[in-house]
Amino acid sequence: MLDKTLTQLSAGLARGDFSSVELTQAYLERIRSHNADLNAYITVTDEIALAQAARADEQRAAGNANPLTGLPIAHKDIFCTEGVRTSCGSRMLDNFIAPYESTVTARLGSAGAVMLGKTNLDEFAMGSSTESSYYGPTRNPWNRETVPGGSSGGSATAVAARLAAAATGTDTGGSIRQPAAFTGITGLKPTYGRVSRWGMIAYGSSLDCGGPMTQTAEDAALMLNTIAGFDPKDSTSMDRPVDDYKARLNEPLAGLRIGLPKEYFGDGLNEGIRAAVMAAVSELEKLGATVKEISLPRTELSIPAYYIIAPAEASTNLSRYDGVRYGYRCQDPVDLEDLYKRSRAEGFGAEVQRRILVGTYALSAGYYDAYYKKAQQLRRLIRDDFQTGFREVDVILAPTTPSPAWTLGEKSNDPVAMYLEDIYTLSTNLAGLPALALPCGQVSGLPVGLQLIGNYFEESHLLNIGHQYQQATNWHQQSPVL
């Protein structure tokens, strides 16, 4: 039962093959068996889940079910969930019982989805391996000695290991797509502003984007149908109509023009991943697509641009954690300065402090123009490069990561080495574009993935291509043996 996709489970509930309570119990059972080992969840909300499942079953009995009613999912512990600890993977918020609900989780909750728990992440979403969490690293279910990617590593592992039917994630520089690639699942980073950020704890405000992490593109469409849309509580949320993301899933791909950016296929790319991605390209050609090489010449510069902009925004977004109104407060502060400095030094981990310091420096007097402003200018150039590309092709296809999952601890002491691994995902966040990560092969027993990058608000098209690809292949059906 737990190997089924969200869409299949939805059909099973509708047919009455099983109840939501039964399904939820099965997931909770599996979480009990494997979470200690994988550390995908920070908090398992058994009671809430069972109560929601019982309510979902009642709704279904009353004939009020919709596609998500009764489906057990997990939330990245960056979304505020009222009455439930929302830690963001940080000691700073270890005692933070959120007093309100994020728009994403509220929408899923009103659609009838059941919350199994809150998943692990790099502290404040700052990382690519889920090793910087205060709650310890999450393991990759394909090989427990490797990382699941990050920062949404807990959600990725939960979905890959079938500890949840689907999960929410957030993507600031690849945090949905990279862990999706490392664990063999599907992950969608929507257009910036398509999914509300209200209640989603901020890392880099102009980059942060919530999205679905699922087994299939079809499941991602199902979830996006619920979480996408305008929210008056988020000024950056876009007030424009939302597609029915399932409507185009079955369109044929004949005539589709795919661009392969040559900068994404350079020397740094693992040969196994190159082969897997090119095999997927052939598959899409068989389905009617044509392929051409394009250039995104500033791809490499996305790394310095991102690692200025994101820490700069983060450095001030995290100023609110001061030990005054909520969160961690140091013991016996002698004065106000001591309260601030020790609460923050003790409450934040090393990588978070590092990014706060970098960001503070980049915004400080005399350096703003050389760093922050320069990075924002480069950001426009990167966006323009994509727009040039989209004049020639409909979508851009590229590997999601340059290499498969690395060994736990391998890059922990070398932040720059870890940052370089984000090279293929950062540009889309800087440009605000949607991108869909799909599993497309394995290298040494570890999943690897490709991503499809579309123009603004073209999520429907990406999901269509992803679904057609998954109809023709079975990489998305592979799951690790626990």
């Binding site: 510069l301 310095p304 690692y307 030990g323 310091l357 420096y361 320069k374 426009r380 440009a431 605000g432």
Partner: protein, 95 residues
């Protein structure tokens, strides 16, 4: 770009982060290596390019002037480290 210790101390003061003596040299080194990475930006000519702060170049949507919030003090202060008589408490502030 390599930083010196006093620059790191200054930034840590602005960010209100206590950097311990033990961690200082490693902090100086890692910040310097990150800024080396960032310095690739300096090679690029961006003259006349408007900085992009929102990817969609969108503009503000305005809210009507309505009071929509009610008093939730008890709920919000139940998670406060220190509050008395409805006030958040901090070590004495001297002006």
């Amino acid at each position: 770009m390599s930083l010196d210790r006093s620059q790191v101390e200054n930034v840590a003061q602005l960010a209100r982060l206590q950097v311990s003596e033990d961690a200082m040299s490693e902090t100086v080194a890692s910040l310097s290596s990150i800024l080396d990475l960032a310095d690739q930006l300096q090679k690029i000519n961006t003259d006349g390019v408007e900085p992009l702060s929102n990817p969609l170049d969108a503009t503000a949507r305005l809210r009507a002037d309505d009071v929509t919030e009610s008093n939730q003090r008890d709920a919000y202060q139940s998670i406060a480290p220190s509050a008395t008589d409805g006030l958040y408490l901090v070590p004495k502030v001297i002006e």
